[in-house]
Symmetry: C2
Subunit: 250 residues, 2 copies
DNA sequence: CAACAAATGAGAGCACCGCTCTTGACTTTG
DNA sequence: CAAAGTCAAGAGCGGTGCTCTCATTTGTTG
């Protein structure tokens, strides 16, 4: 794939660069892909804080300064890994949700949650990079990370919205809790921004379901549960999803 | 305070060392306390991964190798900061819960949640150390951290147990969700270990409330909410606590 | 095909890190 | 008062991110 522009080919624009990829560009893209791949391996083993460009260079069979030809800095590599992780998670969530019947909204919610958990347990270091403690001194560039970084939450919102449109969302949850005006205003903003029709209270419960799923996954991935407090973690999470879907009105 | 034993004074034991603290011991304890204090400051600024013994030594006005007289290693300092954080959080949670009337169990739950959130927002680096991504290569020594590390969850469990004993816990939540046998067995184990009487389903919902609170706090502290998705974060969290307390049967 | 220019890799170097070891000075204790 | 114990300092090892210079490779173009 080309290094900069997302337009694959054709359409000669004002930029004289975006033609068919020259062999140099191809080699360059391949090298960057190799760096990202090795970076992922190091991330998995040593964590985000232990990600070392020098070590990646060694694995690449090249001196450390050479990788700076391809990656601007360690933070740049972190950004590439961040985008990589967001997209991998987003892909797996999408396929998991798509495998559930269109009108089984609760099942879609559970499939989403289980996909998140499965990916997180398989790639704990990437999960930690995406959803764990922020890497000190590193600020993700929003213009590159927001789109892949919001794929899962968008998917969840779309499930709620589809359920609501289908009349399958219980908007009046069992213990009715009033929403203060300031919070309601936020919810209205979100609703208009996303172009959905879910009422405020249901939207708030959806947000809570979202954060709760990640709380449960984080506890498990980050080892907050005691070593052997829970032996049936799969069942625990499944149960939590069932309770949460009820709370959210699905 | 003495460096090793928790017995303040008197009671001459078999150990010939535990007398009145010598000036040397006092100075040593003071130096260690200074190191921990400076370590906390560095933790707050540079995060756990950026915690540097050399920098602490500089602030202490001493050469780097000198601090190794007081702290075995960087990981040892991390452990001290971990215990420090757990105890500070535990203290604040305890006082916050104690300020609520004894029979207002839902209020106690909310007070606990709000105390956790307030502390986390005030000390994000410590919160990240305690509940965020694990520091790669660092394993907390359980024999020193489990007791302070379980103070808050014990407090929460005790609220649920007291509510149940007082007959104020709705054990049959609105959408009844069956608990698979393996998970029920885990819950029975926990119940007997803690010496409480809460039924399995309520205990499971308590666990979910616990992880959900931390999910919500983590999202806020770790900046997972968009920059300006929510302007009324205080109200959002309060609302989430209300929903969770309903879900948990309080 | 040859010449040129861009892209690339190597190496040295800077300042930082955790940690170890030795040395000399100091303080407490017998 | 001298021995024992404690401590700060400094040098040193291997690691890190990153910059700079220099030589070489490589693709393109006249």
């Amino acid at each position: 794939m080309p290094s900069t522009a997302p337009d694959a080919e054709a359409a000669p624009k004002t930029q004289p660069k975006a033609k068919t990829p020259t062999p140099r560009e191809r080699a360059r893209a391949q090298t960057i892909a190799d760096i990202v791949r090795l970076g992922r391996e190091h991330l998995a083993v040593h964590g985000a804080a232990g990600l070392s460009l020098r070590a990646v260079a060694r694995d690449l069979g090249v001196v450390s300064s050479a990788v700076y030809r391809y990656v601007e800095s360690r933070d740049e590599l972190l950004t590439l890994l961040l985008i990589d992780g967001y997209n991998e998670l987003g892909d797996e969530v999408d396929t998991a949700v798509a495998a559930v019947p269109e009108n089984d909204f609760a099942g879609q919610f559970r499939a989403l949650g289980k996909a998140v958990r499965a990916w997180a347990l398989r790639e704990p270091a990437s999960y930690a990079l995406l959803f764990g403690s922020p890497v000190p001194g590193y600020q993700a560039p929003g213009e590159r990370t927001t789109v892949p970084g919001t794929r899962v939450i968008f998917r969840l919102v779309s499930i709620f919205d589809a359920a609501h449109r289908a009349g399958a969302l219980k908007t009046q949850a069992s213990p009715a809790v009033v929403i203060p005006p300031a919070l309601a205003a936020d919810m209205v903003n979100i609703r208009t921004e996303l172009g959905i029709t879910v009422p405020e209270s249901a939207l708030a419960r959806g947000v809570l379901a979202w954060t709760s799923v990640f709380g449960a996954v984080s506890f498990e991935v980050f080892g907050q549960y005691g070593r052997d407090t829970f032996s049936a973690r799969e069942e625990l999470f499944e149960h939590q999803l069932l309770v949460l879907q009820g709370m959210a009105g699905l």
